[in-house]
Amino acid sequence: MTQQYSAPPGPEWLQQGLARRRFLQWTLAASAVMAGVAAGGFFWLRRSPLDQRRIPDWAGELSAREFLLFDRCRRVLLPTEGRDLPDTETVPVVANVQRTLSLLAPAPRQQLSQGLGLFDNAAVFRHGRRFVDLDDETARDYFDRWGRGLVLQRTLATVIKQLVYSAYWRDERTWPALEFDGPVSDRWGLAYLGNAPMPEDDGDVQTGIPE
């Protein structure tokens, strides 16, 4: 067992954000969303036409809404049109995100799931629809606003971006356009040096340690 579970973030990080001077900019409606989180769900929030979409069989470790969110994010965050980069239809971005999330301990995974739900649903109060239903420009503006927002908003915007970015750039099809070399040792035919030579005549240091 290599893991010890990390405790989920405590409520203080949320309170810290809410106590800041930008509290007044945070709408009453958003507070209602927080209450929704605390109550344990978003079932009462806006449904999306995308909710009818069939989720691929391989995405079993993501909830349907998580899948839709990350699938939307890859398009919003990684616009490849006009660039010498592979389209996110061909790079398994969401599958790679799923792989990363599958390694999270249960407590932070649950917290993240709630946070993703908040990110998606909080768009309702400003835009009248969930994040997954925003057009590309509005969705990017939403990310930028959250990046300048409260602690919780900054956290979620950053975490989602980093999950999606690493899921894309880890794929070697994205490397040639950037001239990134990737693994090189075998390609260069480097020799393996083996273990370091055993020290010879290895006397003690013995400077005297107070007991």
Binding site: D181, L193, G194, I209, E211
Partner: protein, 515 residues
């Protein structure tokens, strides 16, 4: 001859897949918990003196040749919590190796001796009178010789490092090549994913095989769950062996009169707390520090390819002393996944433009002499690392950030990306002060990483304010030692591996003398 056990490559490790019995009872003279910088050195130094040594490592054994040179995969395979270990608020990634060889497998090979002014502080504030520059010198020399520590040659100063050198020279700042424990560096820049061709002299290819050659036994996949004691004396440990699928394979008990904790500055205090030992002073887990770092990237007019060449070439020590600022700037190479996370250029097209020009980026790592304000503890069955960048350290962070920006601009950078959660770009010298001074010390504002957790079971002469004595033995439990970065009484500004190797050598000597 013990050298008959010597292998010129790989390591004899008992892994979970090798274990056939559900219950194991073992005997040893010394049981070492953890196989990183502290544990490996103690294991070798005691094994070569004829002690029966067992090393228990919670992480897996991954031979160098299996390293993929793909950073995300390395994080999943070799790092604590698959690279996801953070502080409580989640705004500080705390990277530690979690494999046989520990963090030495995934560090960048940078070697600094403990600065003299740090040792001075330890003597003055913690009564560690034996830790003088003169008394520590033979230990530093010994480990440096063993690990082939040497100053980077010209060929190990990559394009990104030369830019930093140029900038520092223009500003008149002191800049030096790093010392590293590398043998014939192949300049792959994959240090943080493990050195595939066994050039970095990590514990995986040095002290651990040497220890095994002298009869030490290493068990991987084996997490120690409790320290055993009797009447104030350590008597061994109990552990659990877990398979790759996460299922328990065996329960293990090791009976040993000496127990050495070297599981790192997060795991060691957690183990002590779980065992309810050595904590009469309530000091275990307290005074955690970690050198919170920023990676300050900048775009240059010419291609740099920050992923080519030696990962770390030079550093700026102009501001190392506390009275000069208390920070160090280190040149740092990076791959594209890492670069994608270091800056916030904006969403969508601005980010894709940033990445499209990644070959023009070079980066600087800031290390600050942070105060020991953190605490590692349990919350039920969950570990907690309570650490936030303290307001008392925020000015140092800002000074380091300003210096990094100045250096980049002096080196010819066109724009410097401030590593925050919102897009902030410095384009000229006059941008620096207003932009950096406008930053607030709030969670998730700066993009910070810690590579050097330390200080959670500090060493000192006074049992009321420290956990272990100068010998490494805990004040309260005889035969129970600590030999990792958790015993550092203060943060040390610089990369800590040589400090840990040297202290572990010294502690092993004390253990040998006491047996």
């Amino acid at each position: 001859m013990t050298t008959a056990l010597w292998r010129d490559s790989g390591l004899a490790v008992t892994q979970a897949k090798d274990i056939r019995e559900p219950r194991m009872d073992l005997q040893a003279d010394v049981v070492v918990v953890g196989s990183g910088a502290g544990g490996a050195v103690v294991a070798y130094e005691l094994a070569r003196r004829g002690k029966r040594v067992l090393v228990l490592e919670a992480g897996p054994y991954v031979p160098s040749r299996d390293f993929s040179e793909r950073f995300p995969e390395a994080m999943e395979q070799l790092y604590q919590d698959h690279g996801g270990q953070t502080n409580r608020s989640g705004d500080l990634l705390i990277l530690q190796g979690a494999c046989v060889g520990g963090s030495t497998v995934v560090n960048a090979g940078v070697c600094f001796r403990t600065p003299d002014f740090i040792l001075r502080d330890w003597r003055r504030d913690f009564g560690l009178t034996g830790l003088t520059s003169d008394s520590m010198r033979p230990y530093f020399e010994r480990v440096e010789k063993h690990l082939g520590v040497h100053e980077n040659g010209e060929h190990e100063i990559a394009a990104h490092a030369r830019l930093i050198q140029t900038g520092a020279d223009k500003l008149g700042w002191s800049v030096k090549p790093f010392q590293r424990n590398i043998r014939d560096c192949a300049l792959t820049e994959h240090c943080l994913s493990g050195c595939k061709t066994e050039r970095k002299q990590s514990m995986l290819v040095s002290y651990l095989p040497w220890a095994v050659a002298h009869g030490a036994r290493i068990f991987s996949d084996t997490r120690v769950t409790g320290i055993l004691s009797d009447n104030g004396r350590a008597t061994g440990v109990r552990a659990q062996v877990t398979g790759i699928d996460g299922e328990p394979v065996a329960e293990m008990t090791v009976t040993a009169p000496r127990v050495v904790l070297a599981a790192g500055a997060v795991q060691t205090p957690l183990l002590l707390l779980r065992s309810e030992l050595a904590n009469g002073s309530d000091q275990v887990g307290r005074h955690f520090a970690c050198h919170p770092s920023l990676y300050v990237s900048a775009r240059y007019p010419q291609p740099v390819h920050a992923w080519r060449g030696a990962m770390l070439g030079v550093y700026v020590d102009q501001f190392m002393a506390p009275e000069d600022g208390g920070f160090v700037l280190e040149d740092g190479g990076a791959g594209i996944v890492e670069l994608s996370m270091t800056a916030e250029p904006g969403t969508g097209a601005p980010f894709m433009d940033f990445m499209g020009e990644a070959r023009y980026l070079a980066g600087l790592v800031t290390l600050i002499h942070d105060h020991n304000v953190g605490r590692v503890h349990w919350d039920g069955d969950n570990k907690v690392i309570d650490y936030q960048l303290d307001d008392i350290d925020f000015p140092s962070m800002k000074k380091a950030l300003k210096a990094a920006a100045r250096l980049h601009l002096a080196a010819g950078a066109e724009q410097v990306h401030v590593p925050t959660s919102e897009p902030l770009i410095i384009r000229r010298e006059t941008d620096i002060d207003p932009m950096v001074e406008g930053l607030e010390n709030q969670p998730h504002h700066l993009r910070m990483v810690s590579y050097h957790p330390q200080g959670s079971c500090r060493m000192g002469a006074d049992p009321a304010t420290s956990v272990v004595a100068e010998s490494g033995e805990t004040h309260e439990v005889s035969g129970l030692y600590i030999a990792d970065a958790s015993l550092l009484p203060t943060s040390i500004i610089v990369n800590p591996q040589i400090t840990v190797y040297a202290l572990a050598t010294r502690i092993a000597e004390a253990i040998a003398a006491s047996a």
